[in-house]
Amino acid sequence: MMTATRNQTKVTTPAERQIRIERVFDAPRDRVWRAFTDPEQVAQWWGGDRGRLVIERMEVARGGHWRYVEHMPNGTSEGFEGRYRDVAPPERMVRTFEWDGMPGHVMVETMTLEDLGDGRTRLVTTTLFHTNEERDGMIQSGMEQGVNQSYAALDALLAREA
């Protein structure tokens, strides 16, 4: 395991293809949650210092789509997007993250906010990266499972009909 501390951020790589970042903010949990879920607030900090961030979509709910585009002074832009998989205010959010520059390389970000009880909040983000092969494998195995379940249901139906 690798552990590195840069600024006040603690970074660990507990497993290959997984990055865990932990950080304590001197702000109550509700405020930190809103900073992540209120588009007007996200626009003020999420993007880099050079660009202007446009929140094109932000549907903070399970299955909702988000897309942020950073417009650089030189006229170029970079887009980031994904879908929310789980939203449990004010403590947990899971969403996929994809950069336009690396299409198909989807990562899954899990963010948890812990109320430290003294006006501070511990944020932990865990990001899981998948290779194309792994993702294709997962989709395939998921489909197999789905197909098997369908067959089982069909078997049961046929057994009743008989």
Binding site: M2, A4, R6, N7, Q8, T9, V11, T13, E16, R17, I19, I21, R23, F25, D26, A27, D30, R31, V32, R34, A35, Q41, Q44, W45, W46, G48, D49, F97, W99, G101, M102, H105, M107, L123, T125, T127, F129, T131
Partner: protein
């Protein structure tokens, strides 16, 4: 599958800097001298040498000297696009959390 684990820390430190990522990108096209890199990145020779040294320590760049000219090339360690992206992502995320910290500090008491 590529092992991101071994030596990830030095490689990460190396590519967490945009100039060094730019150098790797440039060397990906062809070898270059320190002087060429300095002019490409509009930096002093000393400045670019420091960056090249970090990349060399991480085994991402090899240099050789011919007379008074130092040539740089990528390797022996090579990062594929995905590994580079993972490291860039991590650097971006950390920078983003820094900005969030600043934002929360700046807007303290201003918002409910």
């Amino acid at each position: 599958m590529v092992q991101y684990h071994a030596g990830l820390d030095s490689a990460f430190a190396a590519v967490s800097d945009p100039t060094r990522r730019g150098i790797l990108h440039r060397l990906g096209r062809s070898d270059a001298t320190i002087t060429e890199l300095a002019s490409a990145f509009d930096m002093t020779l000393t400045g670019i040498k420091k960056h090249v040294q970090v990349l060399e320590d991480a085994k991402l760049v090899t240099t050789r000297k011919e007379g008074r000219v130092r040539y740089c090339r990528v390797g022996p360690r090579r990062l594929d696009e995905e590994a580079k992206w993972i490291m860039t992502y991590q650097a971006m995320l950390e920078a983003r959390l820094d900005r969030l910290g600043t934002f929360l500090e700046r807007t303290k008491g201003e918002r409910p």
